[in-house]
């Protein structure tokens, strides 16, 4: 059983991992994992690489499904939701930002200028080709693209791992601001410093193979 910790005062629950198992090609990736993600604030899932953190994020918007156990969103199994609707409500952004062909405005859609301002980008960037952004700018643009859908949850998979120190700090500050604005933010990270940023911390341990 993997360990999960968080404060007792967490309040309403957005997600619950209930006895979740995921099998990989070479054995279990996640083995009987249980934890809850509160509805408010920033929850950081920390653990070393190989602990299945990325999979925990992918289970939230059903890019993956568990082989055992259930993931509950607002008390209902995520599999009971229309998956496309679930994904619009639970936005996920990966480690390396993905840019689609076209301009920043094409990528973000909606109220581009407002969204760019919200993620700390110059609205003048709207007309720039998205593939000409720096990695840090592209990561902010990916966040703006997700925010354009007015999600309830932002699920972030190591969002600062591809960034230099200056960009890391900027994105961390932005994530904190988004959590303070009322969004549920879930972030997985191998960086123990991110536990200091969090309102709640879930710690996952790498699965240990049983000795014969």
């Amino acid at each position: 059983m993997e360990r999960a910790e968080q404060g007792p005062e967490a309040g309403p629950i957005r997600f619950e991992y209930r006895d979740v198992c995921v099998h990989g090609d070479h054995g279990p990736i996640i083995d009987h994992f249980s934890a809850v993600v509160p509805a408010k604030g920033l929850t950081v899932i920390v653990g070393s690489s190989g602990a299945g953190k990325t999979t925990l994020v992918r289970l939230l918007n059903r890019l993956d499904d568990p082989d055992g156990g259930t993931v509950l969103f607002e008390g209902r199994d995520v599999r009971d939701y229309d998956v496309l609707e679930l994904r619009r409500r639970v936005q996920s952004v990966g480690q390396v930002p993905v840019t689609f062909p076209g301009s920043v405005a094409d990528n973000v859609g909606g109220e581009t200028a407002d969204l760019l301002t919200r993620v700390g980008l110059d609205p003048m960037l709207a007309d720039r080709e998205a593939d000409r952004l720096s990695v840090g700018e592209a990561q902010r643009m990916a966040l703006a693209r997700s925010l354009a859908l007015s999600p309830d949850v932002l699920a972030l998979d190591e969002p600062t791992s591809a960034l230099d120190m200056a960009n890391k700090t900027g994105i961390e500050r932005l994530i904190r601001e988004l959590a303070d604005s009322g969004l549920t933010v879930v972030m997985v990270s191998h960086d123990p410093r991110h536990a200091d940023l969090a309102d709640y911390v879930i710690e996952v341990q790498p699965h240990k193979k049983e000795e014969p």
Binding site: R62, L84, Q91, S92, V98, F100
Partner: protein, 270 residues
Amino acid sequence: MTPIAAISGGSSVLSGPVTYGDVVLSLFLVAVAIGISAWQRVGLEGDLLVATARSFVQLIAVGYVLAYIFEDHGWLTILALAVMVGAASVTSRNRARRVPRSGIIAVITIAIATAATLGVLAILHIVPTSPRAIIPLGSMIISGAMVTCSLVMTRLHDDLASNRREIEARLCLGQSSRQASLPWLRTAVRAGMLPSVDSTKVVGLVALPGTMTGLILAGASPLSAVRVQLVVMYMLLGGTAFAALVAAQLTERQLFTKSHQLIKSLRRVP
């Protein structure tokens, strides 16, 4: 009278019908090829012998089968086409083993492309519905559809595998699997159609196509032969378009789950 019916009365320009003796004499050229292979130490002597023997046995067998069907056993036409579709599907499946159910995709694709293309030709009375027209034309469509189907299946699979981050980013934004894979679906359809488009563009410039060559050798006038060849080329364009479209739709369904997830073998393994 249809173009194909119209040219069937010509007499061969070769010195009478080609006899088995003539075929044996043409083996002289195979001997030359084997001689060159041995002299240059290319190591293809065995392959040349096998290829020569196989082509002889296979074509003689097909000749007897076709003669039997043409002589008042027209009801076997469908069976003959079905056997060809089956053989083509096995070949196509073997080319695209990474795609789940590639054999079923190939059978459905090749059968639909063949039925639709022959159907259009027959409904418009471009070709007669006799076994003599349907079987050879069908075999050409089946062969083209087989190549197209293999190309589309492998291209779509490989493109989704190498672009899975972008596809999953699109899925994360609430796009359906069809919407998320659309750019690569188009690329795959294009890849499947391009060979027949390209060969249609250069027809007559690079080489005289096989149908036309055969008809001219058999005594048809060049312009009659050209008309038949044009029907064949346009038929193959239509057939490959049908095949590319059907193969892409069916393959896309096999590469995503019903919950709009990439299938496990294509997912990023954490």
